[in-house]
Chain length 330, copies 2
């Protein structure tokens, strides 16, 4: 059967010299802009494979737990395939652009009085007893799709970067990238820098977080499904994982948007915030290194957080004089 | 000098058989998904050329009037180039995802007590008297960039489609596509179906609209800058232009999202709404035709409008039983 596809992947790898000068001087920094996938995040890479598999196995309906991006992606690919789709989200904790997507694609959006971790437990149990396919990243087909981003980075650079920086939530993506780089077959592997939000950093802390809290809703996960694999990647790659504050995340988001014209959602900037911290603390010397940072989702996923930064000014009259005065004042 | 680029363009052309069966039976329908450009709309194609030109001419600052998409795009490319950027928008009439983008990229976002048409008049006057480059689509470099979408469609299809359907606001895009198809050099040209929103349909009505009004904010323009060129395209292509209601636009947006998994902003669906109307009224027989519809911007540009569709249900308890009951009810 033909794959269920929306022409995901093949996202740009954008050189970021101005950002590098600011946060990693001397490095050659590239941004893998996964926000340009069809539903606006890297989740689409794994959803084409998961939904294709579900269809091939005769599924009529799919379900997932989500902090938002998986919901929008599952809803999109289920719509494309003509499947029913239900998505579980933690009430009040999903960014607006993600919620809108899931709704637009026609999914049954089910808010729960609980966390992502609760939602994941619920859908795992349901999938065992009802005829409905689970498309969370506990589904191995998801990782098989997601790993393709590692291949694209290798192709674009003509080799493997020295470091890969990315946010870590449920830890599916760090696992998938590692699989991809391993399957490159070459001797060189990147070192991996993972970043968690300080209020939601179970791997950094070494224990599950009961009530994870961060503005970076996409990585607001207290008990990652791929925890063990993430630790293996960090060990095998001689990598590091660190916790960055919401302030550091928002500052990294601001820097990449204003210096490079690349707008990502807050959680996507966590990898850059982690890189910046490691350079500042001297645990990573960027000089001469080739670094790829994964921006997992588009900034439009979470417009509210951006608007909240902004001190808006009152409107001006619609005259050229009023405009001239405003421009001369700046 | 190197171009100022964010790797815009090369957007997918997505086959839409389920949507075709619904709105244009017998046609081979393709969606040019321009929402996957870096700032989320087709405007990026022309902004790379306009900002590159501005930099090459020594500009230090750029300005534009916008219903939102141009603002986000200009802000992104100005940031990328290290230029100052001011964007004029009609107060309260810009979709959230666009406003957030312009803010995030660091532009000076200036709301005016007036319409897009007022804003365009103001920036044209300012650009004549202050050292600030105008990057609206009255700038011919914009059209030179935007025309590339026509070439991509031709490349992907291995030929020119029978019809091209697209929304018409300021009429820069319909003009740019036509330039692109003309420069293909082949004998075949597409027929062009343009769609305006009923409350903002100056070309259909034959006179400027003083107070344009529509939910499709991106085409809420009462006096298009490229009006004359649009009429020439319609005449030369044996095309048609029609006005579609906000209800028809929202229904087309819903159909393309739920049947194909492609989420576009309301105005982007106007071309599909126009196609649907023309087929229903019998002015366009779709049978056997190859049709390309341009979806100008991503649905995440305007999440509020999507949320407003949705009758949300109260959250459920975080138990598997509560989830089973909810699923069995549907």
């Amino acid at each position: 059967m033909p794959p269920v596809t929306l022409y995901e992947g093949n996202t740009p790898l954008i050189p970021a010299p101005r950002l590098a000068a600011e946060i990693a001087p001397g490095a050659e920094l590239h941004l893998k802009y996964e926000g340009l996938n069809p539903s606006g995040s890297f989740k689409d890479r794994g959803m084409t494979t998961a939904i294709t598999q579900a269809v091939s196995e005769g599924a009529r309906a799919v379900i997932c737990a989500s902090t938002g991006n998986t919901a929008a992606s599952a809803a999109a690919y289920a719509a494309r395939a003509g499947l029913k789709c239900a998505v579980l989200i933690p009430e009040g904790k999903v960014a607006l652009g993600k919620l809108a997507g899931a709704i637009a694609y026609g999914a049954d959006v089910i808010a729960i009085e609980g966390s992502f971790d609760d939602a994941l437990r619920m859908v795992r149990e349901i999938a065992e007893t009802m005829p409905i396919a689970l498309v969370n990243s506990v589904n191995p087909a998801r990782l098989e799709g997601q790993k393709t981003a590692a291949w694209e980075i290798t192709d674009h650079l003509g080799g493997v970067p020295d470091w890969l920086c990315l946010p870590v939530g449920n830890a599916g993506n760090i696992t998938a990238y590692w699989i991809g780089f391993c399957q490159n077959g070459g001797p060189k592997m990147p070192r991996v820098l993972g970043a968690q939000a300080a209020g939601s950093a179970p791997i950094v802390m070494g224990h599950p977080i009961e009530n994870p809290d961060t503005i970076a809703t996409a990585i607001r996960i207290g008990n990652p499904a791929r925890w063990k694999q993430a630790e293996e990647v960090l060990r095998a790659s001689h990598g590091m994982i660190l916790a960055v504050s919401d302030e550091e995340i928002l500052e990294a988001q601001r820097l990449v948007a204003t210096l490079e014209g690349v707008y990502c959602e807050p959680s996507s900037a966590a990898g850059l915030a982690g890189l910046r911290r490691a350079v500042r603390e001297g645990t990573l010397d960027p000089n001469g290194l080739q670094i790829a940072a994964v921006l997992t989702g588009h900034g439009m996923k979470d417009p509210d957080t951006t608007i909240r930064w902004h001190r808006s000014e009152p409107p001006i009259a619609s005259t050229t004089d009023a405009l001239r005065q405003r421009l001369e004042r700046k």
